[in-house]
């Protein structure tokens, strides 16, 4: 009896292990939503190892020992798991399983209207390496943006001219904080480079409008730069170029790193081989130097602290064409008669940032950042001392909550104090403190739709004015490789500093952006078409006096300044980039058409400003020669003529109606990479304006005679080498 009981107890167990002898076959096929066969899917009975992989017809067939109620399941990367119940009594044939592409793994739609962003998971449009290998950029991030749609050439200005806006309307942001005096100081009318090296940044995101509520005080757009994280390894870097020498080093420990560097610049050799345009002549060659330090600390896996500090000094003396030539002076101390004036620049610049980012279990992300910029100029304009101090101190905090991978909410606040002290004959001062709070929701309810509403509140203590600026952007997929995006919002900005320095107190200016774009992107080919309309309101106006073409003129104290100006800009832009059609070759074509007019500053009539050309074209090509480890690049840029002021044409539609000849520039760059033992070396040479074209940005009139307004340089030749030594891998063995 006992034996029998035991037998009953053990029998099922034994039966289970012997059942293997009775095989049945399961077969069928797997199809996707469009009834197309799915190849390579794993089909199996749940909780068993009996299964098979589908062939190119989507068919599968396998044997199993299982009986009764089972579940048959199909899985494949980038598809959602699918399954259905199955009762096995004998062979089962003709099963049809349908699989859907999973939302998570599909290339989700991303908002692209108004912005050129780069990140590791989206298709990059422009990254730091692109910047240095683009001919004509001269290794300057800001200059490289002029090869993208929506921007104008800046031959005689510093900054970004975006969609009809002047240089003061674009902000340059590093790690979330605005940089004051982002450009090397120079005399009026001479375009200088930005103070940053592209290698400092891991990401460059350029917005030509409709940007996020995280930022404000820029009517046109922002250039958002994100600094590098922890370096890979310790290294030593040495460089020499025709403009100077530099050295830097990085020491990396386990959880932190420290970098330090120094440089000395002397433009004498560069000036000797370059062609300066008529009228610009250095009598004191620009000389300067600087130092920088950077500390990075990763206290834990999801936290990173970065702190940087840099200081630079430069000095130069130059004869420049008198920007006030032929104009009417009301202050009594501006030279309006001499063709040429002397200009001495002496610049001390300090810039420091600190930022800390921490994520908590992928649920929350905290970001805090602070920075200061301080720029002290000790210049001489003609014979008058021009002393100026510019400063900006700011802090920002942002908290982001990730509810799901497809929904997150960010809230943040920002505090800035900035201002200018200027001594030019009289002493002038302007100090402003601004507070802002902002929030933004990012929501991808379904993979083909993304929405990003945001709102920003800004308060100016100087003006005692507050503004609420809503922002919105969205994207929708229009096909497997294409999508359409929209972006828009209201943007506010204080008036140009000059007005506040002169004792006027105009209120904030505003712009409303409407942007729509369509983008097609497939395996390293991208096509973008973007159209926009921008409405400017409350622009600053000086009333009571005639137009003075001198952009560096002092504001006439007796004029009345208000916010009665207005304007618009509309345009269409095309961008095509192809990294695939030709091996080792990357090229892009950027074309912008713009129609813009405004009545602002000292304009007497609504007109297209002098810095806007209606048609802009850039063609950039790069090729890497494997065999020689060499990279060559060429860029051609074209702009239709610029409006200029003719004193004989001052009224109505005649105002600023003249157009200069077209702008043409061809630039080439070549780089050769080579390892000398442990030293990784790059030799480079770049020639800007190869054909030595004498481009004209306008004219200066005196007594009926006109002089072209030229850029400071025509053809420039730049070459140098960089040597880097990384940590010595032998000890790893």
């Amino acid at each position: 009896m006992r034996k029998r009981l035991l037998l009953i107890f053990f029998l099922p167990l034994l039966a289970g292990s012997f059942a293997a002898f009775a095989d049945t076959r399961i077969s069928g096929k797997v199809l996707d939503n469009f009834e197309k066969p799915v190849k390579g899917a794993s089909v199996y009975l749940d909780n068993t190892i009996d299964g098979a992989t589908t062939d190119s017809l989507g068919e599968f067939s396998f044997a199993t020992e299982e009986k009764g109620n089972q579940t048959i399941v199909a899985t494949l990367a980038a598809y959602e798991l699918t399954g259905q119940p199955l009762v096995i009594t004998g062979d089962v044939t003709g099963i049809v399983l349908h699989m859907r592409k999973s939302q998570h793994d599909l290339e989700s739609v991303t908002i692209t209207a108004g912005s050129f962003a780069s990140s590791d998971r989206t298709k990059t449009v422009l990254n730091p390496i692109d910047v240095v290998t683009t001919a004509g950029s001269n290794g300057d991030v800001v200059k490289a943006m002029q090869m993208l749609p929506g921007t104008q050439q800046t031959g005689t200005d510093n900054g970004l001219l975006i969609r009809g806006g002047d240089v003061s309307e674009a902000a340059i942001i590093v790690d979330g904080t605005i940089v004051q005096s982002a450009f090397v100081s120079g005399p009026p009318g001479l375009s200088t480079r930005s103070r940053f090296s592209p290698f400092q940044f891991k990401g460059v995101s350029f917005s030509s409008g409709g940007y996020s509520s995280r930022y404000g005080q820029a009517l046109s757009g922002v250039l958002d730069l994100n600094s590098n994280d922890m370096p890979d390894k310790s290294n030593v870097n040495l460089g020499a170029s025709i403009a100077g020498i530099y050295a830097s080093g990085t020491k990396k420990w386990k959880k932190c790193s420290f970098d330090a560097g120094g440089n000395y610049t002397n433009l004498a050799p560069l000036l000797a081989v370059s062609s300066t345009s008529n009228g610009y002549k250095f009598y004191k060659v620009p000389v300067g130097g600087g130092g920088n330090a950077r500390f990075v600390w990763e206290p834990n896996k999801n936290g990173i602290l970065k702190a940087t500090f840099s200081a630079t000094y430069s000095k130069s003396g130059i004869n420049i064409p008198n920007p006030a030539l032929g104009s009417v002076d009301t202050t009594g101390n501006v030279n309006t008669t001499d063709e040429q004036i002397k200009y001495i620049t002496e610049d001390n610049y300090y810039f420091g940032t600190i930022s800390y980012k921490q994520s908590f279990k992928n649920k929350y992300t905290l970001y805090t950042a602070g920075s200061f910029s301080y720029d002290k100029l000790n210049n001489v304009y003609d014979i008058i001392a021009l002393k100026q101090e510019e400063y900006r101190n700011q802090g920002r905090i942002e908290l982001k909550r990730n509810f799901t991978t497809r929904l997150n909410l960010m809230v943040g606040a920002e505090l800035q104090n900035f201002g200018t002290k200027k001594q030019f004959g009289r002493t002038q001062q302007y100090d402003e403190t601004q507070l802002a709070a902002f929030t933004e929701l990012e929501w991808t309810p379904i993979y083909w739709l993304a929405l990003r509403p945001g709102i920003r509140y800004e308060y100016s203590t100087f003006l005692n004015v507050d503004k609420v600026a809503p922002r919105f952007s969205a994207a929708i997929k229009t096909g497997n490789h294409s999508q359409a995006s929209l972006a828009g919002g209201i943007f506010y900005q204080n008036a140009n500093t000059n007005y506040y320095l002169s004792g006027f107190k105009p209120g904030m200016q505003s712009a409303i952006h409407y942007i729509a774009n369509w983008q097609w992107s497939k395996s390293d080919r991208t096509l973008r078409v973007e159209g926009y309309y921008k409405n400017y309101q409350d622009l600053v106006r000086e009333n009571g006096y005639g137009y003075n073409p001198n952009r560096f003129r002092p504001v006439i104290v007796a004029s009345s300044v208000d916010n009665t100006g207005y304007g618009y800009a509309q345009g269409l832009e095309l961008f095509w980039r192809d990294k695939k059609s030709f091996k080792n070759t990357d090229y892009w074509v950027s074309y912008s058409y713009i129609d813009t007019k405004r009545l602002y500053e000292n304009f007497n009539f609504e007109a297209t400003p002098t810095f806007v050309a209606q048609h802009n074209l850039s063609v950039v090509g790069k090729h890497f020669i494997d065999k020689w480890h060499a990279n060559i690049s060429a860029t051609y840029s074209f702009s239709s003529g610029y409006p200029y002021f003719d004193p004989a044409k001052t009224s109505g539609s005649d105002f600023l109606s003249g157009r200069t000849p077209t702008f043409n520039n061809t630039a080439i760059t070549a780089a050769w990479l080579h390892s000398f033992g442990k030293w990784f070396t790059v030799f480079y040479v770049s020639v800007d304006n190869v054909l030595n074209t004498h481009n004209v940005f306008g004219y200066r009139y005196k007594d009926g005679q006109r002089q072209p307004i030229a850029p400071g340089f025509y053809r420039t030749i730049f070459f140098g080498a960089n040597f880097s030594l990384s940590q010595f891998s032998k000890d790893e063995l």
Partner: protein
Amino acid sequence: MKTLIVMGAMALSVLGANAQDFKAPLAKTWVAFDTLPMMGSGDARQQQANKLVLIAKKWDKEWITHFYVALSKTMMSYEEKDVTKHDAVLDDAEKELQDAVSLLGKNNDETYVLAAMIANSRLGVDPMNRWQKYGKIFTDDLQAAKEINPNNPRMYYLKAVSTFFTPAAFGGGKKNALPYFEKADGLFAAEKGDDVTKPYWGKRANTYFYAE
């Protein structure tokens, strides 16, 4: 009574087999996967990789079953040139690796090496844009593995292959990779590779590249 003992013994052996027998199918499937040519045998490898997934589903509590799923997916990912699909495969691999690590309770040298390999594969599909982020993860994970076990040959093998495919101008190339292959080769020779619960992949590929 004798019958009882026989019965009991049989029952125990069945029970024991059920707990143990993941090793046999795992070893068999893994070897089948690993001995197929790395490139060009996509379908056949996919079948074996799918089988590994089933094994991990059935023996859900064994870290090593998840480890092999992650490893096979990572190896397969090198063949996928479409960035989105490539990342989708590696996302799956990462999940399985996390499962393996949480079953282990902490990372060991093999899981770090595999994490480095995943980063390396992510980098490989778009090196120009990804080297900065994934190059660092690769280096960090290998360093972490080295601190646990400096004699893990796969660590040197990965470093070697990554160097091998880096252009010579950036300090890569055959010549610079050679010392790593040598080092890995020596360490591979010291491994028995007879226990499936101790991962022993990579030797074949190392020998192949070493010959190059």
